[in-house]
């Protein structure tokens, strides 16, 4: 499962995990694709900071409004979903 998500571009997955791990104050090796961001102790402000880091690192625009994250088209429920979304945005940028 974890590998499926990451097969596309291991570098993207590794960087996203590094960003999320930094917010969660854990080592990247302790963060898996199945982890939910809230279970990692990342609150709404932490999510906003993760998204900022993602935008800066991947040169993408993340459609995300902290007011209604559930209505956002950017799925932040798990680490894996964030990786998948970033891969999509990077692919769109390169297209």
């Amino acid at each position: 499962m974890e590998q499926d998500v990451m097969t596309q571009d291991p570098a993207i997955a590794a960087k996203v995990i590094e960003i999320i791990a930094e917010q969660a104050m854990r080592a990247p090796s302790e963060v898996t694709a199945e982890d939910r961001l809230e279970d990692l102790g990342i609150d709404s402000l932490g999510v906003v900071e993760c998204i900022f880091q993602i935008e800066e690192n991947f040169d993408v625009q993340v459609p995300f409004n902290a007011n209604n994250p559930e209505e956002s088209t950017f799925d932040i429920s798990t680490v894996g979903s964030v990786i998948a979304e970033v891969e999509k945005l990077v692919a769109e940028r390169r297209a």
Binding site: S44, N65, A66, N67
Partner: protein, 404 residues
């Protein structure tokens, strides 16, 4: 304890450049939120809406010698203060000036000046700035110019608690007069953060709406920034009586609290305590409250928490006490917002007209409040009101006003 009353009010805000035009706009439920116009570097902003003060000509109000010293936030304050002082018919000659002061709220001070000069030195690479950058940008600039304009020689200070700045300022003014430090205080707040840098900073937090401010409504998706301010003459009741002036309302109580929680997420406890403290300080029973001017930013978190706080404080029947957010019309004036919103409180007490929450498309089950949706309500008997302000940083300030 000395009673404190309001004897004059003035404003410059997106709904109007004085109190009568502002109240007319609130009565009509007019919305001043529109496409932004004329900001430098505006094309680089993601957020393209705001509530700007349009058609304000500083040169029509302030002489040329003085204008270079005045950031936009201080211009708003000065013009508003003149209106308030004229209404109060108060003078500050001799001892009266020594017994008079000023307490003004602002979150960002001279933001326009900061923005313009950062652009100049960083983006344009200039090495020389105008000599008045510091006196323009300092947070106390508006307070100081008010003191100079009218000869207020008693207490003078600026208060900065983000979105609660105005309410904290007015609450401190109440306490200073009660405590005997002054007899008359010009108080309120002003803000001019609606510039490229100001908006860009707010964009970063991702709490701005791209399409409108809809407090308490199901579709709300963030706040919309405005600009402007309001100034009031707060005065000891006996002082107003001695001058033969009819007060507009009593500033009956003030409550403040800190969440001591998170930097931008509100708690329930902080707002609840601030509202209860304001009522207790005013000697107003929860059942007497006839209107609440909400902080009502239009963010999911604030409005949900504020609705819960209202129910906690007012108990059963809380959903029958109207609580509207005029930010839906004039936007969020940040440090100036509580002052402009106090005008809606005066309108409720004096005219029995409740300002609406406009752009209210559908109720949100998370916010079970009577938000006075879309149209003002008149013919309402209101004897006591609360005005809420809950700042980022978890600093809460609530004013209680009573009809005299």
């Amino acid at each position: 304890m000395r009673k404190v009353v309001i004897t004059g009010a003035g404003t410059v805000n997106p709904l109007g450049h004085d109190v009568p035009s502002t109240l007319t706009a609130m009565r009509e439920g007019r919305c001043a939120i529109a496409a932004l116009e004329g900001l430098k570097d505006q094309e680089r902003l993601d957020v393209q809406i705001g509530a700007q003060v349009r058609g304000f000509d500083p040169g029509a109000h302030l002489d040329r010698q003085r204008l270079p010293l005045l950031d936009r936030f201080a211009q708003f304050a000065l013009v508003a203060a003149r209106e308030a002082v004229a209404q109060a018919r108060v003078t500050f000659d001799g001892e009266a000036g020594a017994r008079a002061g000023v307490v003004m709220g602002t979150a960002g001070g001279g933001n326009t000046t900061v923005d313009d000069n950062y652009r100049s030195v960083f983006a344009e690479g200039k090495n020389r700035v105008h000599p008045f950058v510091v006196p323009r940008l300092m947070h106390n600039a508006a307070a100081s110019h008010l003191s100079m304009e009218f000869g207020l020689r008693g207490p003078g200070l600026a208060v900065s608690t983000a979105c609660a700045s105005s309410n904290h300022a007015m609450g401190l003014a109440l306490q200073l007069i009660r405590g005997g430090a002054a007899d008359v205080i010009l108080t309120g707040g002003s803000e001019a953060m609606l510039s490229f840098g100001g908006l860009k900073a707010w964009e970063g937090l991702r709490v701005m709406s791209r399409d409108g401010c809809r407090p308490f409504a199901a579709s709300r998706n963030g706040l919309v920034m405005g600009e402007g301010g309001a100034v009031f003459v707060f005065e000891a009741l006996e002082n107003a009586r001695a001058r033969g002036v009819e007060p507009l309302a009593e500033v009956a109580g003030f409550g403040m609290s800190a969440d001591a929680g998170e930097i931008v997420a509100p708690t329930l406890d902080g707002p609840v305590r601030a509202m209860r403290l304001a009522l207790a300080d005013a000697g107003i029973d929860a059942a007497e409250v006839g209107y609440v001017n909400a902080h009502g930013t239009g963010t999911r978190a604030n409005d949900r928490t504020e609705a819960q706080a209202l129910h906690a404080v007012l108990g059963e029947g809380a959903d029958r006490v109207p609580m509207s957010s005029t930010k839906s019309m004039h936007g969020h004036l940040i440090g100036g917002t509580g002052a402009v919103e106090l005008l809606a409180c005066l309108m409720a007490l004096r005219e029995g007209v409740l300002a609406p929450t406009v752009s209210f498309d559908a109720p949100d089950p998370d916010c079970p409040v009577d938000a006075v949706p879309n149209a003002a309500r008149d013919g309402v008997e209101v004897r006591a009101v609360l005005s809420n302000a809950f700042a980022f940083g978890g600093l809460n300030a609530v004013l209680a006003l009573r009809r005299l």
